[in-house]
Amino acid sequence: MTDLLLAVKSLLVAFVLLGAVPLLVANYQFLLVGLHFRRLHYDRCRPFFPRTAILIPAWNEEAVIGTSIDRLMLLDYPRERLRIYVVDDASTDATPDVVLAKAAQYPGNVTHLRRDKGGEGKAATLNHGLAEILADDWMQAILIMDSDVIYERSSLRRMTRHLADPGVGSVTAYIKEGSRPGNYMTRFIGYEYITAQAAARRSQEVLGVIACLAGGAQLHSRANVEAIGGRVDTTTLAEDTVTTFETQKGGRRVIFEPHATVWAEEPGSIVALWKQRLRWARGNVQVTRRFKSVWFRTQPNNRLGSFSFGLLWFCLLLLPVFMLAASGSLVILFFIDYQLAWTAFHILWLTNVVTYIFITSYTLVIDPAIGRHTWKEALLFPGLVNVAILVAAVLPGPVTWLGHELAAAAGVGVTPGWIRGIELFTYIWLSACMGVAFLGKVTESRRLGRFLGPLFVYVGGYGPLLCAITTAAYVKELRHAEATWDKTEKTGKMVVPT
């Protein structure tokens, strides 16, 4: 019986400490960012201006498509080497009229392609355009973008210079959230994009492998498009990730150009974010399955199978599992060995403190302009309660004193039972924060939702909200729920900072 209890305790402690693994991996990933200067590709670049077809899938984009085309025509790129193909996916608004007007305004540069039967998703729309573009040999490179994104003038040429190296198959840019004035949600996303794009893609480059070309900024050489079959994947919800993997499986390099900036309008509500990220998360689950022969297996011509890349991929994909396992184990340990639970929690939370300080401070200085705009959301990324626990871990004395003072002011005596109750709450909160963030989605469209939605996200945390979405993606995939392409609504309220 004693041996069994010891084994159970050891297993529970292992589950708690396993919760520290994604944190340690996140630190590793951010440390790699500091080594990016050693992996730059510029020595194989030169000014290079291939004939570039710009492919824009569009469904009911009247609010944004005209501006996007105008801005593309302002690119610092030889105009005779640019052709814009808008694939209108059977839009029911004024999108065709807007595009046709732009085609008349920029003759020879803008082409309107119409799909009479729409609603098959972005990938099918892209394939319609790809077939058209590949039908003649004018195109030397193709830029796949979204209808709402705005390229800075220099961005395309900063991307194409990498294609001067024939070993490069694809190039992606740094997508920044551009809604102004925006709201709390777009600021959270703005901060998240520094971590997920500016930082994560730099670290992936150091490892020699890129996880995903940004959907709104994928530049491919013609050779690469032809090598992957001349079309994008239509069987998953992550056609851009599949394209990225297929490119690298074929031995062609994928480059992240952090100094080519593209601005995008991202969701401004929890419901819209949920819809978008559920699609992404389900796509990632599908990609994980599709490329199951790749993970942790050395490949002769690419680094997709490297241990480090697998670690990064699975720690992100399985983060909710780690959180639930650590939280559940702490709760069980609390009842069978209170002191051991406290010790295990301390180790986990110390790792969390280090991770929070390092990643938050570094992220804010990786892109200081966005950092200045989003610093409050950066600090509250894990949620108000989690931040309070982090502060208590760093400053146990002052926080304990404050707790006693507040309790005294409220006329409540701090008993050992109270303290144990707070500790149990803390263990439960590790996973419950996901549920609280989820409440933001539930309440957003109801009465007082404009107040309650943000409140739940700030208290529960934006990071936990993303974990809740990933959990929902697991459930949808396990149930083989229908995979539909839910378009993110765009309003055109985006300002490229001057």
Binding site: C45, L74, Y362, P368
Partner: protein, 77 residues
């Protein structure tokens, strides 16, 4: 450059968008080849400096973590 992404140098300003006529923005392939060599060299130089700056910032952030942990251990054990 340490505080600003080099991309800022190429950002489209409101003035450029609204004041400069579209025709004036056009560049031919020949002009580009001649003029862009220097631009390319400058941009790459800026980018390399920026990336090296990120390494320094990384070290500062690691140092920040170390200082906070040291103070935590010193004052609270």
């Amino acid at each position: 450059m340490s505080e600003q992404q080099p991309a800022a140098a190429g950002q489209v300003t409101a003035e450029q968008v609204t004041v400069v006529p579209v025709a004036a923005q056009q560049v031919t392939a020949e002009q580009v080849t001649a003029e862009q060599a220097q631009v390319f060299a400058d941009e790459v130089g800026d980018a390399v400096r920026y990336e090296r700056g990120l390494a320094v910032k990384c070290l500062f952030c690691v140092l920040l973590v170390a200082v906070i942990l040291a103070l935590r251990v010193y004052f609270f054990g």
